[in-house]
Subunit: 223 residues, 2 copies
């Protein structure tokens, strides 16, 4: 076999919902290239490591244990000049995590709208990750991945509001998610959100698909 050799990295688009905004975990680069600029967390794939394993390891190194976090491969990026050090292919991954009380080790949660320009081609990877998350909320139950183990329907609705920048009708939303078998499992407990009537608590059910899907308003989206 003859092929040019590449270094292979994994980069992570770690998304969460904080204060009503979809946020991404960014780290400031400490070493060249792009020192001082914000970038996605990531690292090189090790000798006998598969891609998802490498991404899981990076996630753990950030301080995000893998307890039920959603992690999936996004896409690969290998433009010849994307890294000034040489030929590097990176496999972007998408991770969805609940809003954490404490911020993860290094790095800061940044609203995706304010992420600005990132190092390398990370802005593109981020955009792809955000679009993937937005699309998947339509036809999967993945919104619950942004919620803690137990959550209310309001919390789940706020995820959709943050990710889609829409405000679905609370009553219709409730009807939709509760009528999808296996989406939500009631715990029987209730929790007060400070003021007002306490909401019922749910866990994630076994369902992964949402049928029929919950459609956002589409206006000229990419295929």
């Amino acid at each position: 076999m003859r092929g040019n050799l590449f270094a292979v990295a994994v980069d992570l688009v770690v998304l969460t919902v904080r204060d009503g905004a979809l946020c991404v975990l960014l780290r400031e680069r400490t070493a060249p290239p792009f020192a001082g600029e914000p970038a996605l967390p990531g690292g090189f794939v090790q000798a006998r490591e598969d891609l998802l394993d490498a991404a899981s390891r990076e996630l753990a190194e950030i301080g995000l244990a893998i307890e039920g976090h959603h992690l999936e491969q996004l896409a690969s990026y290998a433009a010849p000049d994307r890294d000034p050090r040489g030929r590097v292919l990176t496999v972007g991954h998408l991770a969805l995590v609940p809003d954490l009380p404490e911020p993860p080790g290094e790095g800061a949660w940044t609203p995706v709208e304010k992420a600005g320009d990132l190092a390398f081609d990370h802005s593109r990877i981020l955009a792809d990750g955000v679009e993937r998350a937005r699309a998947k909320l339509e036809y999967t139950t993945l919104a619950a991945a942004f919620c803690p183990a137990e959550f209310t329907i309001s919390q789940l609705r706020r995820v959709y509001e943050a990710v889609w920048s829409t405000e679905p009708d609370p009553r219709n939303f409730s009807r939709k998610v509760t009528s999808t078998p296996g989406f939500l499992v009631p715990t029987g407990e209730k929790v007060s959100s400070g003021r007002g009537r306490p909401g019922q608590l749910f866990r994630r059910g076994p369902a992964t698909a949402l049928h029929p899907p919950m459609l956002r308003d589409h206006a000229g989206l990419p295929a």
Copy 2:
């Protein structure tokens, strides 16, 4: 930077519809490893080549000029032992082409149901490609990529029948596709399909998304 080095390849899942069956282009391997076994066409990424460019080149080398063929990245595969020659990462790509009068240079169209075991992890890549194509027919206008430049609604319907193994109602199907703005552009011409009333010819329109989507019957599909 320190990372282990990989050879990087692109592999192609080239799909078409022939005789009512979804078919994939397979080549028999001539050299080890897996000599004599069927495999997806593919090759190594060259020195200053990006991934899609490499996939386009491979497609051209097969004899499939890129005139409007659909080509997209699928996913990357890098299990440590997937290639006995050493560490090889492959980026799977999905190509959708119309049924061609002449078969492409080397390789043979094989119904995906009869593909059997392929070399390397190509069976997995094929399965991912087929599932991607099936899913995309739901919410995009991509079915037209399986049709020639001009086609009838019946031809388009036969694409759905082959890819989904369903038989949508011709009248409902027609209503759906003609009522989606920008999906089909009538040419004003008609064509006879041997017997019966000739059908009207259409071209692909500018629309890429299908809203609302055309839902297939879902029964426990992966997310």
